[in-house]
């Protein structure tokens, strides 16, 4: 089963922020998820790096303003769709 970058980011965000995956949309962001603070943002970055086996630059981390933005970033960064 393959899933889109959005679905994978949503699964990780659901684990980290302890909210059901169904409640997470592309617009979900630190403004709409109250457990998404700066320490959790670092945890999210590290979880994504661990999951996709890549390193995110400080510029890229700054662009991670919403779940949709993160999914787009990963789609561009990964040569093919993530497995």
């Amino acid at each position: 089963m393959t899933s889109t970058a959005f679905e994978q980011v949503r699964a990780i965000a659901s684990d980290l922020f302890a909210i059901p995956a169904e409640e997470i949309t592309t617009d979900s962001s630190p403004e709409t998820i109250k457990t998404w603070d700066s320490i959790q943002h670092l945890s999210l970055v590290l979880a994504l790096e661990e999951k996709f086996q890549l390193q995110l630059s400080p510029d890229e981390i700054e662009q991670m303003t919403s779940v949709g933005a993160i999914a787009r970033l990963l789609e561009n960064k990964l040569p093919t769709a993530p497995k």
Binding site: S43, E50, K51
Partner: protein, 624 residues
């Protein structure tokens, strides 16, 4: 994995916490990641009150961001039955926290403290500007840092009884002087190594202070892969995302022995676990166990098991096999590093493995929760997890070449200290089993006793045996006539009094040395010798050693001019095996009270012969 998460949530909302616990452990086995760790900790927080978890409080004193590694540690601790409460000290405040008696560190009342400081932070001169230093300056820097660690460790121990885990210092991936560093007498690597030696020495000076070999951990994982320079510069997080799990696992290897979540015995399957192939089908020449591929994987596993047995971990076998086939391989296969003598218990039969594991635990006299179980067959593993959730079932990878490493990294086998007895434990249990087997093969008890060739050595209290004698009075429950508990000081005081005799007995036989296994304490008054204490370790019960010791007491009392030998039997819940001891040796029942019965023996008319199959050596006049 999403389905497993949904299943966990459904189980939690229906109140099935035990089942949820098993599923959470399964999730962690399948997927140990930052994301699953967050999921596990949030779900365990919902059910922690309903599970038998061991609460444990831990503080991290640090010079860098450790926060992202904490959920990984907490998840792994939860799965191992530990509920961790974590406090993290402020950045670079570790020295003040340790030195200040009123700091948040001590207010938190931790069970354990981890001190983790980067070489770059505590020794910037050695790390960053080493090339500028003269040999003397480098040595000075090394001493300065060593002294700081020694001071922190001592200060900590004065202020807290908590365990302290000190990370030692990592080496740079690329030394300042390049390849010359390895040629130089005053090298950068040498300066850091010297600090690490001193940290180890300072830790060894104190009780409960342990070194985590952080340098070895980083080297094992790869220095270049370990670090993330960008995260260090932007978030004070020096460790790469995919290495945090290794760090949390290393912490877990300390937490397991600190919290007592350890395995005392390792129970292994045989076919495709201890050797490659199936002995019942492939036969002696078909199974794989040698120095070549693929047999080397099994030899490597056996080598780990030998190493574990040196830590005092008992080895046992639980295998579905024909006993004769399996024993043929264990006894005679040329590639086997483990032989029957290495195993403290064996269940080789076609019965249910869960039942066999229960029997092994009871034979070894340890709890089922002290067993670790290794089996290549996932179905057997799953059955044990379901039937006996207390057993630590070790998840084996598919590739047998990875079996050895899996066992080496299992926290349940870690020990922080080792005693001489730990190192001999397997041998003691194996000897015991050989005795039990030998006993079966004799028609009469007497023939078995003669075959044993027992030798007993009787001695007064010696400085070297005082601790063991006191320990025996404190922990012997079964063959103990009066169950009086004495401290070392009390034993020493009794031995000083002229009318008192404190006697110990050591026993060895053809299978091995039992060590010091019995104690008798008597005192004489008006021609009557009273037995205050008479006890024997359960290892030697039923081998007539008790008669030999009693015979010695009677002869000694008669020689000192006593007319009578008397002794009380004070019943407890556990000392039934000693109940008929005096009656069996022709003592007369004198009185019966609510506390027990008093028995007497007429030394002027009777004697107690020492069994002729026990050779008795008496050591006297060797005080001090």
């Amino acid at each position: 994995m999403l389905d497993l998460r949904k299943e966990v949530d459904a189980l939690i909302s229906s109140g099935s916490v035990e089942a949820a616990n098993l599923r959470l452990a399964e999730l962690w086995r399948n997927e140990s990641s930052a994301a699953s760790a967050a999921f596990l900790t949030s779900r365990y927080e919902q059910i922690r009150d309903k599970l038998p978890l061991r609460p444990y409080r831990i503080v991290f004193l640090r010079s860098f961001t450790v926060e992202p590694a904490i959920p990984l540690l907490r998840a792994s601790a939860f799965v191992n039955g530990i509920d961790l409460t974590v406090h993290i000290g402020d950045f670079n405040a570790y020295a003040q926290e340790v030195l200040d008696q009123d700091s948040s560190l001590y207010k938190f009342a931790p069970d354990a403290v981890v001190l983790t400081v980067r070489t770059a932070d505590v020794a910037p001169d050695l790390w960053q500007t080493f090339a500028d230093l003269s040999a003397e300056e480098a040595a000075q820097a090394s001493r300065r840092v060593s002294n700081s660690f020694t001071q922190w460790i001592r200060a900590f121990r004065e202020r807290s009884q908590a365990a302290l885990i000190v990370h030692n210092l990592e080496q740079p991936a690329r030394p300042a002087c390049g390849i010359f560093d390895a040629q130089s007498e005053s090298s950068q690597a040498g300066a850091i190594r010297q600090i690490n030696d001193e940290i180890r020495r300072a830790a060894a000076e104190q009780r409960g202070v342990y070194v985590l070999d952080y340098d070895a951990l980083v080297a094992r994982q790869g220095r270049l892969r370990w670090k993330d320079e960008r995260k260090w510069l932007t978030a004070r997080m020096p460790i790469a995302a995919d290495q945090l799990l290794s760090l949390s696992r290393e912490w877990m290897r300390f937490l397991a022995p600190l919290t007592g979540r350890i395995a005392k015995a390792l129970v292994v399957d045989l076919d495709n676990t201890l050797w490659g192939g199936i002995i019942g089908e492939d036969g002696m020449t078909g199974i794989k166990c040698d120095a070549e591929y693929p047999g080397a994987a099994y030899q490597a596993l056996q080598r780990v098991m030998l190493d574990l047995s040196k830590r005092g971990i008992l080895l046992a076998i639980c295998s579905k096999n024909n006993l004769d086939d399996a024993m043929e391989a264990l006894n005679n296969h040329p590639g086997m590093m483990l032989r029957p003598k290495h195993f403290a218990a064996m269940r080789i039969n076609w019965s249910d493995k869960a039942q066999n594991l229960r029997e092994i635990a009871s034979e070894l006299n340890i709890g089922i929760d002290s067993l670790a179980f290794v089996d290549d067959n996932p179905v057997e593993r799953e059955q044990i997890r379901a039937a006996l959730p207390e057993v630590m079932v070790i998840e084996l990878p598919d590739d047998p070449l990875e079996y050895a490493a899996t066992l080496r990294e299992c926290p349940a086998f870690e020990r922080l200290t080792l005693s001489a007895e730990d190192q001999q434990r397997t041998a003691l249990y194996a000897e015991q089993r050989e005795r039990a087997e030998a006993e079966q093969s004799f028609q009469s008890k007497e023939d078995f006793y003669r075959f044993l060739e027992q030798e007993a050595e009787i001695a007064p209290v010696l400085p070297a045996t005082l601790a063991r004698i006191a320990q025996l009075t404190q922990k012997t429950n079964q063959f103990n006539l009066t169950t009086r508990r004495y401290t070392e000081q009390q034993i020493a005081d009794m031995a000083e009094r002229p009318a008192w005799q404190v006697t110990s007995i050591r026993v060895r036989d053809r299978f091995g040395d039992h060590g010091l296994v019995g104690v008798a304490i008597t005192h004489d008054e008006d021609g009557v010798c009273e037995i205050d204490t008479f006890l024997l370790s359960c290892r030697v019960i039923g081998r007539t050693v008790e008669t030999a010791l009693l015979s010695y007491l009677a002869d000694g009392a008669a020689a000192r001019g006593c007319r009578q030998l008397i002794g009380w039997f004070l019943p407890t819940k556990k000392n039934v095996p000693a109940k008929d001891f005096y009656a069996q040796h022709e003592f007369q029942l004198d009185q019966q009270t609510s506390n027990g019965s008093c028995w007497s023996f007429d030394l002027q008319r009777q004697t107690i012969p020492c069994p002729d199959w026990i050779k008795l050596n008496v050591l006297t006049g060797v005080h001090n």
